[in-house]
Symmetry: C2
Subunit: 183 residues, 2 copies
DNA sequence: GTCTAGCGTCTCAGTACTGAGATATTGGTC
DNA sequence: GACCAATATCTCAGTACTGAGACGCTAGAC
């Protein structure tokens, strides 16, 4: 079944069936992500924001002041990227840096009143854009997909163990964790 | 339930439940994608290739010569990006351009023997890296996730319809379609 | 007190692209 | 045959980052 399809024009893939299944998943995962990403980016762009900027604003709104290192880990950007993004948001007057009382190396990012107002204004429409983007699945299917992707992401993030189901380090994160720049 | 969690430190999200479900899915989708992407990129980088370059090589290997426009649509890169990537692969001696006999605007990208040898050498290990990265799910779960993500991606790509399940334009693509730069 | 390993942030050069517009063809339509 | 909208590729300036290293600070060992 696989052989027939991959053969049609080029060379055979020559992978075994579990691997073919994995590759197929990777393809549709990438495409699904790219499609939803497009919607999320387009919505953020309507307000002159990149999705990374939007993600920072939203994280600060929902979680309160965050150390730059926390921002970095939450948004999954590089340390240089964090500095760059917060600089830009600061220039736009949406975010401020504040010294951390207990640790003079560290600094907080905090929403300015203007930044807070902006998030309050644009977040609902953004959330709705996401809702529409994923509306190809019913809510029940969405929950199912969430469960599967959570398990997938956990293993992949830990290094992608080869054996079956690694049981380790559960409950290190609060399960719900506003992250991917726009949620 | 949602309110409690999102309230804990910052402000309430203020979205209804279906939207909260959608946002949660978007978060885990992004994280899962980022994690697997990391593995795929790392493997491509071992051979001095970006994932986009790898994707082109692999597409040419499995499908045979492709017009640049076809490469663009398959890999989901911009037209400028296609030129850029094929240029670079040409400089590396892995790909060649060939005129299209029937249309003098168009040009084919074709693997050189060296390019073909390279893909043959590195593809199995790459496929295995993907397999390990997604091994947090059993093959059965992977198939289930694939089905869900396929439906999700289809709707999102069409513009993210709001109503329930849009039934349109099926069968425009061969269902399996080697794409996301590394599969 | 004095090291020293390690963390948190910033700097900066580099990179892999994107997007808009330019150029060359093509396949109709009149 | 002349026109023209559509298509295929290329050019190029711009962008949103990444990654490696620098710097200042902290905290634990002695």
């Amino acid at each position: 079944m696989l052989t027939k399809q991959t053969r049609e024009r080029g060379r055979a893939t020559g992978v075994d069936e579990p691997t073919a299944t994995a590759l197929k998943l990777w393809v549709v995962l990438s495409r699904a992500h790219a499609s939803v990403l497009g919607h999320a980016q387009a919505d953020a762009a309507r307000h002159g924001l990149t999705l990374a900027e939007f993600g920072i604003l939203e994280a600060l709104y929902h979680k309160g002041p965050l150390l730059l290192g926390q921002v970095q880990r939450t948004l999954l950007v590089s340390s240089g990227g964090t500095t760059f993004l917060v600089d830009r948001l600061e220039r736009k007057g949406l975010v401020e840096r504040r010294d951390c009382p207990g640790d003079r190396r560290a600094r907080y990012a905090v929403l300015t009143p203007r930044g807070e107002r902006l998030v309050r204004e644009i977040f609902p429409a953004h959330a709705d854009a996401i809702r529409r983007a994923v509306s190809g699945l019913t809510p029940a299917e969405q929950r199912q997909a969430t469960t599967l992707l959570r398990a997938l992401g956990r293993t992949a993030a830990e290094g992608g163990a080869s054996g079956s189901r690694t049981r380790r380090a559960r409950s290190r994160r609060p399960a719900v964790d506003g992250r991917p720049a726009g949620a």
